[in-house]
Symmetry: C2
Subunit: 194 residues, 2 copies
Amino acid sequence: MADEKPTRRRNAEETRSAILASARRAFAESGYDGAGLRGIAEAAGVTAMMVGRYFGSKEQLFAEVVADTMRDPVILSADNLGSPQMAREFARALVGLSTPGQAVLDGFRVMWASGGSEVAARIAREQIRTVHHATAEGLVRGDHAPERAAILLSLVAGVQLMRQQIGLPALADADPEVLAGLLEPVIAVVLGVA
Amino acid sequence: MADEKPTRRRNAEETRSAILASARRAFAESGYDGAGLRGIAEAAGVTAMMVGRYFGSKEQLFAEVVADTMRDPVILSADNLGSPQMAREFARALVGLSTPGQAVLDGFRVMWASGGSEVAARIAREQIRTVHHATAEGLVRGDHAPERAAILLSLVAGVQLMRQQIGLPALADADPEVLAGLLEPVIAVVLGVA
DNA sequence: CTTGCAAGTCTACACTCGTATACTTATATC
DNA sequence: GATATAAGTATACGAGTGTAGACTTGCAAG
């Protein structure tokens, strides 16, 4: 057989994903402007220049990070669309009690971290529109689906922001079960499955 | 009479508030890191050094801007506490159909703009806790008031973020009356006045 | 073993940031 | 009108940023 890539010389693929993971963490923690390429590279075990080699620019790196977190636009399985059960599952996912859609929740952290940077905001905007479209088509039913999907995303973004970034005690330290119980009827109203 | 301050020499007070207003706009637009002292000063008609003279440092300037937007922690008048009417007024205020609490809504824009900056995040955190406390005490009734107040603030922050910063079309371009109509029952559930 | 080429590093450049010091200008009082 | 003083400006510095080009090193094939 040809065996074109037997062991990976100095591990190009692995380095690339290491940079991506490091960047994701750095952007979520320090924001687009706050995270430096030198720090991202160092955490990945390489030099800052490798970032430029692999991703072209900081802007493109951020775009790839955001796209990576949003890779799975389906927040919930489509098993129980339109049922009250959906609101419960959504609420539990939002407070971290279930795993599906965690990548998307991470994505909101990254996007919030975009701060006011022009390029970061543009990238975040495009990704959010994609997610919004998927949500409006796949999750929300009835009248004003786009608007209700947008309200749902706003709630998700706001809760993530307050929990993860601000660390508002009433949300960050609260019992997830209690939070899920409080969020469920709210989400049900938004989804129109109350 | 003494007439201690007849016409104000070169208008110290006015310059100070001009810088404050300019900073508020710049922070909301470009974020804490993105907004530069030179740009803020230029928009206020002075040099960058005046900012240092009047506020000491960029960090202190930001703190004062945030405190300024949060000066009025009462989002709504306490006239109809606990009535379903309250949810309606709150919803209309949130989409800009009524004026009360607009400063606080601006505040969430400024705070989102804090991005991942350490100092900005800390300042935003403190202010949000103050508002949260006021909300939990004055607006929300019943069980789990702190948690429900936090969910309400999350919704406010998320909607502001999506409308003003991201510019999600479904929210930014939608008819405010429609949006208010959709938000009203959601807020009613959060407030427990449904 | 030699050689080609990708993987990775070093050094440096142009730029912007926040801030400090020294200077200039306008205003109000004597 | 002279003068003290606050308001405002000019210049510059050191640090940190993203990025570019030349260099070095390791791996795999001839």
